[in-house]
């Protein structure tokens, strides 16, 4: 519909006030009347077909990210404004975070929203003006992670003194892996390496690296991990600037050495890693230089140990030699010899003396024995017998006296016994009832039957009786 281009709409914005360019109202060639819808539809068709793919330079304002993921904003410059939208599908590939005031280059198509009579740019791409989108994204992510404290020196862990197993995350075919293996093999031939191959550039590389880092840092025995790739363009290295990689490194359980590209390229991974190596080879050297250092240190210590021990022992040897030279000690061998001779002499003297003592003892024994045998034993016996007779007389008298006294006290005791006898009770009128042949005492009425004979012992004399009645007491209450 080229005729629409002839309308003032095209080159003379009806909204803009341009008083300095007044123009006489043109005379329409023919009087065609549109409905609002018809005109809007025409405008829409015109705009959408003409501006299906445009680039716009403008400043972002009123930027809003909706919960649906769509982005809404206004692009403006000094003289005009243009509403814009970026749908979620396109917004996902944004490499930076849009914000108000940012000058951007937007690419998209114009769209008309008929119900409101509004047009807007539907963005497919959005890039910061000037700096590249990547650069801006880098700066933004760096700022954010730094604010989180992920770059703090206090978070950096020391490498293990002696790595038991070294984890490596890089491409299996890259030069980086070859470099690392070469260096390790040369300087640490018995190194144990665990390689987790990973895509290191292109679509999906960041996620792959992140997974690999997580996996290998958690592998049993791994106590240090090198993650990296050889040098390349900033595009090639980009995966190491992605947040997901940074997070994987930051949450690693073991120290991570980043080794990306060459000297000058710093990536986000470098900032987060516990140690940054400029190249993969350098990373390998950082791991094993420590082994070399340790070996030297131990060797030096061993030398010092031996030297110190040698000096110590030499000191003692010298002291011993000095003491040996002293006159006191020097005279000792002679003195010892003299003493030895003296000891031998004394020993002989001692033996002689002992022998003499034994001889004397034997002589004394014989003398004593002779004296013992010469004594008259019979006289001694007579004297003893006489003494025995005298003693015997005394003993008899004593015994007689004692016997009399005993008898008297016996009478007293019998009298006392008498008063305690049951027979004495009979004197007071009690009687004892016996059965007929006087063998058993009758103590119960039912032990005898009427007509049976019983005998009764009185104080003086005895009665023979016949039982007429036997009355038993009532049975005891239970």
């Amino acid at each position: 519909m080229p005729n629409l281009f002839d309308l003032p709409f095209d080159d003379d914005d009806p909204d803009s006030k341009t008083p300095h360019e007044p123009r006489p109202a043109p005379q329409p060639p023919d009087r065609r009347i549109f409905t609002v819808s018809e005109l809007t539809a025409s405008v829409r068709e015109l705009l959408e077909s003409t501006y299906g793919d445009v680039w716009i330079d403008g400043e972002l304002s009123n930027f809003k990210r909706w919960r649906t993921g769509h982005l809404y904003f206004t692009l403006k410059d000094a003289g005009a404004q243009l509403k814009g939208v970026m749908f979620r599908s396109a917004a996902r590939s944004l490499r930076f975070t849009p914000e108000d005031g940012l000058r951007v280059i937007a690419r998209g198509r114009l769209g008309v929203y008929e119900p409101k009579g509004e047009y807007q740019i539907v963005c497919e791409q959005l890039e910061p003006h000037g700096v590249g989108a990547r650069q801006l994204a880098f700066e933004q992510l760096k700022r954010r992670l730094e604010a989180e404290g992920l770059f703090e020196p206090s978070r950096k862990r020391a490498l293990p003194a002696l790595p038991r197993k070294i984890g490596i995350v890089t491409s299996l075919d890259g030069a980086a892996l070859r470099d690392i293996v070469n260096v390790l093999r040369r300087r640490y031939p018995n190194a144990h390496l665990l390689i987790r191959p990973s895509q290191v550039q292109g679509e999906g590389a960041a996620n792959d690296i992140a997974r690999a880092v997580t996996q290998v840092t958690a592998a049993p025995g791994v106590d240090v991990v090198i993650v990296g790739r050889g040098g390349g363009s900033i595009e090639d290295l980009w995966a190491f600037n992605e947040e997901v990689v940074a997070r994987a490194i930051a949450t690693s359980a073991v120290p991570v050495i980043s080794a990306v590209g060459h000297e000058t390229d710093f990536t986000i991974a470098d900032f987060v890693a516990d140690l940054r190596a400029p190249t993969p080879s350098a990373a390998a050297e950082l791991v094993v230089t420590r082994k070399d250092e340790y070996r030297q240190r131990i060797d030096r210590l061993h030398e010092r140990l031996t030297a110190a021990a040698r000096i110590g022992i030499r000191g003692w040897q010298t002291r011993v030699r000095v003491l040996e030279q002293r006159p006191g000690l020097a005279g000792w061998p002679v003195r010892l010899a003299l003493r030895g001779r003296r000891a031998a002499e004394l020993s002989h003297a001692l033996a002689d003396r002992v022998r003499a003592l034994i001889g004397a003892g034997e002589r004394r024994y014989h003398q004593l024995r002779l004296r013992l045998e010469s004594r008259d034993l019979r006289r001694t016996l007579a004297t003893i017998a006489a003494r025995l007779t005298v003693s015997e007389g005394g003993l008899t008298a004593v015994m007689a006296g004692r016997s009399h006294a005993r008898r008297e006290s016996l009478g007293v005791l019998a009298g006392r016994l008498e008063t305690l006898s049951p027979l004495a009770v009979l004197g007071r009128g009690y009687a004892i009832c016996w059965n007929a042949d006087r063998t058993t005492i009758v103590s119960k009425a039912d032990a005898v039957a009427p007509g049976e004979a019983v005998r009764i012992t009185l104080h003086r004399g005895e009665l023979s009786c016949t039982v007429t009645t036997a009355t038993a007491p009532p049975p005891p209450k239970p």
Binding site: L162, H192, I195, R297, G312
Partner: protein, 82 residues
Amino acid sequence: MTSKIKDFESALTELETTVKTLEAGDLALDKSLALFERGVELSRFCHQRLEEAERRIEVLTERGELRDAPDSLQAAGDRDEP
């Protein structure tokens, strides 16, 4: 004197102390001999630990399986270094 050696790093620290004590001198002869023996034991332990790691290259797959590295890698470092 011969207590157990915990790990490489503590062994190294103890070795250093032992050497310093020995170098300071002023020790009884038997004490210094005991220190020397301990020092030799420690340095031998450290050396052993330095050399004991196993020479091996493995590859960890995405599924967490272990494989041997390609031969080209296994051979790397063996030939081209002086």
